[in-house]
């Protein structure tokens, strides 16, 4: 540490104090803040309760079957990984192109990465039949089928990405809390690593699916690029919304620069994503044959079964409108149009890279039986609970970052 001061150099005293003050800041606020947090906690607890019932009675409480054996949870897991990876779209301008204004707010993206990874991990865990045997997948403790199983790769990259971002955010907040200037040596290499790592998490998640020869709907080389393209829509779209909330509700300075930069990214990625979806649709539908039955089921229904048809066309419509809004000149002057575009693209990709990506791979089944799936009430409760939990983490993270970056939470003023 450069220029140590007597209190700060003793981390065994100052770090617990940092945590204690963080707890205080995280639980302090105005009426709106308390309402928001209580509401999120309530939704989260409903999810916890639904999960407890599911664990006690078995996954038979969900709408999943041996025909459609992955559903809402794995869909949301996939979307969540994309959100986490997309946060890197702040890191790249801030650290590779040295965009000062972006650099000042890049912590928002890193906190999003942490929250979204936790959400994704939660979705995988609630999907396990035997959560009590979780330790079987711990490297060293259980039997870790690495490097053969892509799921073990996913464990490695997701926990690695979580660790990197926890380190960067934790280090930056703690040193600023101490009143010191962060030493680039201790975080810049990790930030640069996180850029590569962000691409890896969504690539490996795509490989989970695309490596399965028995599921033609997934067995496509374009799946990983599609995942990355959509991640670079959802990440920036979420951050654009978050930055505006921060700007309106706090005294943390958010310039127009970062939002403009992210919108420039979105203009391209939203079209790129649609282009890749279109390429996939063309290949599937023009070819025809039984390997393309899943795609036909998704977009048009199969033998009178069409549960997903309204979902996927809503998704495509939302993505098209978002693409139009991001690229229209009036959006540059009217921010509310931008907000609508962000919400539409998030909702559209949530369907397209969620249920729209997972479920059709199982319909028809590998023996061409048709059993449909839509999530039931219990799955909705667990799902909303996990997203509420993610928003809790994200809110607390932002609150700490704002308090520390504006200088309100500092060691010397503290008790």
């Amino acid at each position: 540490m450069s220029e140590p001061n007597p209190t700060a150099s003793n981390h065994t005293l100052s770090y617990p104090r940092f945590l204690w003050r963080a707890l205080g800041v995280a639980t302090d606020g105005n009426v709106a803040f308390y309402t928001w947090m209580v509401a999120l906690t309530a939704v989260w607890l409903v999810g916890v309760n639904a999960f407890a019932h599911q664990t006690a009675d078995g996954l038979g409480r969900t709408a999943m079957t041996d025909h459609v054996s992955w559903g809402m949870y794995i869909g949301n897991f996939t979307f969540g990984v994309g959100l986490a990876a997309g946060a890197v779209m702040m890191v790249i301008p801030a650290y590779l192109y040295h965009d000062r204004e972006m650099h000042d707010v890049v912590i928002v993206g890193e906190i999003l990465a942490i929250s979204a990874i936790l959400v994704s991990l939660a979705f995988v865990n609630v999907d396990l039949g035997r959560i009590d045997r979780f330790w079987h997948i711990a490297p060293g403790l259980g039997r870790f089928n690495w490097p053969i199983s892509m799921l073990t790769w996913d464990v490695v990259v997701l926990s690695g990405y979580l660790a990197i971002n926890l380190h960067v955010v934790g280090y930056l907040l703690y040193t600023r809390f101490l009143g010191q200037t962060p030493n680039p040596k201790w975080y810049v290499p990790f930030v640069l690593l996180s850029i590569v790592w962000a691409v890896s998490i969504h690539t490996v998640t795509a490989f989970l699916y695309s490596g399965l020869g028995g599921r033609p709907f997934w067995n496509s080389a374009i799946l990983a690029p599609r995942f990355i393209a959509s991640a670079f829509v959802t990440g920036p779209a979420f951050i654009v919304l978050a930055l505006q909330v921060v700007r309106r509700l706090t005294d943390f300075h958010v310039g127009d620069g970062p939002i403009t930069t992210l919108v420039r990214v979105l203009r391209v990625t939203v079209l790129l994503n649609l282009f890749m979806v279109g390429s996939e649709i063309f290949t599937e539908l023009y070819t025809g044959g039984s390997h393309t039955a899943s795609a036909r089921y998704l977009y048009f229904g199969l033998h009178g079964h069409n549960a997903l048809v309204p979902w996927i066309w809503s998704a495509i419509a939302m993505n098209l409108v978002a693409a139009f809004l991001f690229n229209s000149s009036s959006t540059r002057t009217q921010l509310w149009r931008l907000d609508i575009a962000c919400v539409l693209s998030l909702a559209g990709i949530w369907i397209e890279k969620g249920i729209g990506l997972i479920v059709p791979a199982f319909v028809p089944s590998t023996l061409h039986e048709i059993v449909e799936y839509l999530p039931n009430a219990l799955e909705w409760k667990v799902t909303l609970g996990i997203w509420a939990f993610g928003l809790l983490i994200f809110t607390v993270g932002l609150k700490l970052a704002v308090a520390i970056f504006t200088g309100r939470m500092r060691l010397e003023e503290g008790v």
Binding site: L45, H53, A56, S149, G211, S290, A361, H368
Partner: protein, 300 residues
């Protein structure tokens, strides 16, 4: 009271309220934890258990079955016979689609009664095509229907098994005699194998299997037909508790037309070798590269 301490007291109330609500929300878990024991929780992987540890596990499982289902069963752990490599063939020219094999599997392997589970699905196919899209499993009319042929599908015990590759915890593997097994006490229930299998051969225990005590098959194998726990995968094991002891699979014995042929691929004099050498044999979905040990053939 000043503002700060009032706020502190309110926060403490909030924390208390929150943690009480959290405990209440998790309350349904208590009925689940009743089913768990420390020994079961700490049990090692099948391949890491010593002979003594395995004996203790088998006794514990027998006791648990007695307690849970009210029936005395024997759970053994038959190992592969060195040099034996199992294969199975099915004659599509004589199969009539009666589903007797599926029913025998249901009984032999202690499947959940309510779901009519079985490791075998019988497809009614259109003559002149092996396109699965033209097949159906839910036929309900007298069989055989003249325009159709019938194709039972079960685990193909692939030599290049996608299900084994994808398992993150090595809870499923291929044994020396070619049979792909699951350690029901090691599986974490992620269902990645179920997604990977091109033959829909795997099943998940969505709930705890229920079987009336008098219907339980008491001759059980650790890796095969013992009653599975909730939340784990299961699959056809070529009835290894029978076949490793010189008997035939239950589905074969139940077949009224003699469509099924089972045996040791390493034995040049076996029926299965004769079928492979003299019949027009094919494997299902050869293009996905799974290299099955389950073969189909036509007489003419």
């Amino acid at each position: 009271m000043d503002d700060a301490s009032r706020r502190g007291a309110l926060k403490a109330c909030g924390a208390l309220l929150g943690s009480t609500a959290f405990a209440r929300a998790l309350a349904p878990l208590t009925e689940w934890t009743d089913d768990l024991s420390v020994d079961a929780f700490l049990q090692k992987h099948y391949k890491e258990l010593t002979t003594d540890e395995m004996a203790a596990v088998l006794t514990r499982l027998e006791d648990e079955t007695a307690l849970d289902h009210g029936v005395e069963v024997t759970i053994s752990d038959p190992r592969p016979t060195p040099g034996v490599s199992f294969g199975y063939a099915l004659n599509l020219s004589v199969c009539v689609g009666c589903r007797k094999c599926a029913q025998a599997c249901h009984v032999e392997n202690n499947h959940d009664r309510a779901t009519h589970n079985s490791y075998i699905r019988v497809l009614e196919m259109k003559k002149g095509s092996i396109d699965l899209e033209l097949g159906r499993t839910d036929y309900a009319h007298p069989v055989p229907s003249p325009e159709r042929f019938y194709m039972p599908v079960q685990c193909h015990q692939c030599d290049n098994a996608p299900c084994v590759k994808v398992c993150p915890v090595e809870a499923t593997w291929k044994e020396e005699d070619g049979i792909v097994v699951v350690d029901y006490n090691w599986c974490i229930g992620c269902r990645y194998c179920e997604a990977a299998c091109p033959y829909h051969a795997r099943r998940f225990n969505w709930e705890k299997p229920e079987i009336p005590a008098e219907e339980i098959n008491p001759d059980q194998g650790y890796l095969s037909n013992r009653i599975r726990p909730q939340g784990v995968m299961e699959k056809c094991t070529f009835c290894l508790h029978r076949t490793r002891n010189g008997r035939l699979p239950a589905c074969l014995e139940a077949c009224p037309t003699g469509a099924r042929v089972f045996g040791d691929l390493n034995d040049a004099d076996s029926d299965i070798r004769w079928v492979l050498a003299n019949k027009r044999v094919f494997v299902l979905k050869e293009d996905v590269g799974t290299r099955p040990r389950f073969f189909y053939y036509f007489d003419k």
